[in-house]
């Protein structure tokens, strides 16, 4: 269990968090119309008569959106409801042309499931925790209001109106900002693996409503507030921290927590109450009479299951079984793009442990330095496999390999070509190496004497000098062996 506590004046407080994550379903067309979903189009161009709620328009659901919700449910081992329904949530707002949102209240398509999180993703031995997922349902997104274009008017863009969302509702199982962040990252990772949402929080593909309450350990659940539409993992964690603190202050000052909707202001790092919307809590839900019950058949479900990829937890276990260190396995599987890249590298026949070492240190280091992500890595898995092959067969030393890799990053050339072009091949030519060793020993007679006098640590100095003199191309193993012999021989003689 989390030991996150808020130290108040009256003692310790626990925080209880539940998340409602709205994830845009990856689909070409909208949930109930054929208009496109692409981000960034001109206002009101991706709007059909259906999305604008023209008189007489009717919704017909997009199979792909249903399929993605089902696959997502399967990925968190949730109950899939073969019989579900759409309901109308009625309220008036300028971004909601129908005057209702089509959602699922009474019979969601996905029931209870769970997501396993690690309380310290950097530490493979850290405790894990299972976070319950209450349900996933499918619903329409609303349009967008623009308030800053005109002094007295707001402008309405319906491009997002009717885009499919999954609402993924967690149980109130989260107990700290860190857990909340870990859950959100893990959820995003799963969605990206499944391909049901791109997880792009900047473009609004994923937003979270954060339900927070506090209580003294052992007490009943406190009154919660809901902070709406938080659009980054960092902000979600900040909301948990700030809102819990605020609630403790209110309660300790003798106040009460009002069940209300709040907004997060990242500039001031605080939540504040939204002016409560009149009638906001009487949505008059009822089954949408334009939409019959959604009944999923076994063939549909079988296809959904068969099309699921290997998911992060399973992949991590497989990597560990291949001899990859647990921390590296965690890092390699956190993001689907990295895992796909690494799987391709494994498929090329490299040794798993060495490949994981190289990928997590050399490749990820290089990507970090150059501000790139794995999706646009300049080095393909095939090129990396070639490089690793040259290391494995002794053609390249570790340091030569680094040089070759730098050139590959710059030019995009393959490893063998770089080695060839730049003459960076490692040499194991004993004659050449012995000649250099002899030079080095001659130039450093004093150190040779010291070494022979017992200063063993100077061995590394000789290795370095030899390597340096050979431009890094000497096979270090051969250098070691020959140096030992050369330095030792003289003692014997």
């Amino acid at each position: 269990m989390s030991d996150y506590r808020i130290q108040g004046e009256t003692g310790e407080w626990e925080v209880v968090v539940g998340l409602e994550v709205h994830a845009q379903v990856t689909s070409n067309a909208k949930l109930f119309s054929g208009a496109a979903t692409a981000f960034g189009a001109e206002p009101n161009t991706q709007v059909s008569l259906v999305d604008a709620a023209m008189p007489g328009m009717l919704p017909v659901p997009n199979r792909e959106c249903i399929r993605q919700a089902v696959r997502t449910g399967m990925a968190i081992e949730a109950q899939i409801n073969k019989w579900s329904r759409f309901d109308r949530k009625n309220y008036f707002y300028a971004d909601l042309p129908q005057g209702y949102q089509i959602s699922q209240l009474y019979h969601p398509i996905v029931g209870e499931g769970a997501i396993d999180i690690s309380l310290d993703e950097k530490n493979p031995d850290a405790t894990g925790k299972r976070i319950g997922v209450e349900r996933i349902h499918v619903e329409q997104d609303a349009g967008k209001l623009m308030h800053d274009q005109h002094p007295t008017q707001s402008y309405v863009d319906l491009n997002r109106s009717g885009v499919a969302l999954m609402e993924i509702v967690s149980k109130p199982d989260l107990a700290s900002p860190a857990e909340t962040g870990a859950y959100l990252r893990k959820l995003r990772s799963i969605l990206r693996y499944v391909g049901s949402c791109d997880g792009n929080m900047e473009e609004g593909s994923m937003r979270a409503d954060v339900n927070v309450s506090v209580r003294k350990p052992g007490d009943e659940l406190g009154t919660r507030t809901e902070t709406k539409n938080v659009n980054s993992v960092r902000f979600v964690m900040a909301v948990v921290e700030q809102e819990a603190k605020r609630q403790v202050e209110v309660l300790e000052a003798g106040g009460k927590i009002v069940q209300e909707t709040r907004l997060y202001d990242p500039d001031r790092n605080e939540t504040r109450s939204m002016r409560s919307k009149e009638d906001a809590h009487d949505y008059r839900y009822f089954p949408d009479p334009d939409l019959l019950p959604l009944v999923l058949d076994d063939a549909f479900l079988a296809e959904c299951r068969a099309s699921l990829p290997e998911l992060p937890d399973a992949k991590r276990a497989r990597y560990e079984a291949l001899g990859i260190a647990p921390y590296q396995a965690t890092v390699l599987t956190a993001e689907v793009e990295a895992a796909r890249w690494f799987d391709a590298l494994l498929d090329a026949g490299v040794k798993p442990a060495a490949a994981a070492n190289w990928t997590t240190s050399e490749l990820f280091g290089a990507l970090n330095r150059t501000g790139r992500d794995i999706g646009n890595s300049p080095v393909s898995p095939a090129q990396a496999a070639e490089l690793l092959g040259l290391i494995a067969d002794g053609t390249l030393s570790g340091s030569l390999a680094k040089q070759v890799f730098e050139v590959m990053l710059e030019t995009g050339d393959g490893a063998a070509k770089v080695v060839e072009d730049r003459g960076l091949k490692q040499t194991s030519d004993t004659g050449a190496i012995e000649a250099v060793i002899a030079e080095v020993m001659a130039a450093n007679a004093d150190k040779v004497a010291d070494y022979r006098g017992g200063k063993d640590k100077l061995f590394g100095f000789f290795v370095g000098q030899t390597m340096k003199a050979m431009g890094g191309k000497a096979n270090p193993a051969v250098v070691n062996e020959l140096l030992k012999t050369a330095l030792g021989e003289s003692v014997a003689s």
Binding site: S27, N28, A29, S33, G34, A35, A36, E42, P43, N44, T45, Q46, V47, S48, L49, V50, D51, A52, V60, P61, N62, R63, E64, C65, I66, R85, F92, A94, L145, M146, H147, Q149, H150, P151, T152, Q153, S154, Y155, V156, D157, L158, M274, E278, D279, D282, R284, P287, L291, L292, P293, L294, V295
Partner: protein, 100 residues
């Protein structure tokens, strides 16, 4: 069933229909009568009866994920979408400024 004026005003507000006090007062007994009449349904024993979901046995048909497959339900028709708007500017619908 008696419906008071305050209830009428609350319902009118939920339904976004402006209503004067006089109209609310006039409507209260009228709605009361109608609601009283439909309350007769309460006498029907519906234990174990499922609410109607589809009058003719039928389940939801799903469509393929294709953009603009049918022009009648597709996008790229901004002129049509805005054609009947009381106020449309710069490709947007315009409404009185909303303060969030």
């Amino acid at each position: 069933m008696s419906v008071d004026t305050a209830t009428v005003k609350r319902i009118a507000s939920l339904a976004r229909i402006a209503i004067t006090d006089e109209d609310a007062a006039r409507m209260a007994p009228e709605l009361g009568n109608i609601l009283g009449w439909i309350e007769m349904l309460g006498e029907v024993d519906t234990t174990g009866v499922e609410p109607m979901t589809a009058v003719i046995p039928n389940t939801l048909r799903l469509r393929d994920d294709v953009v603009n497959a049918d022009p009648l339900t597709g996008g790229n028709i901004r002129e049509q979408v805005l054609a009947n708007a009381p106020v449309a500017e710069h490709g947007f619908f315009a409404v009185p400024k909303v303060i969030e």
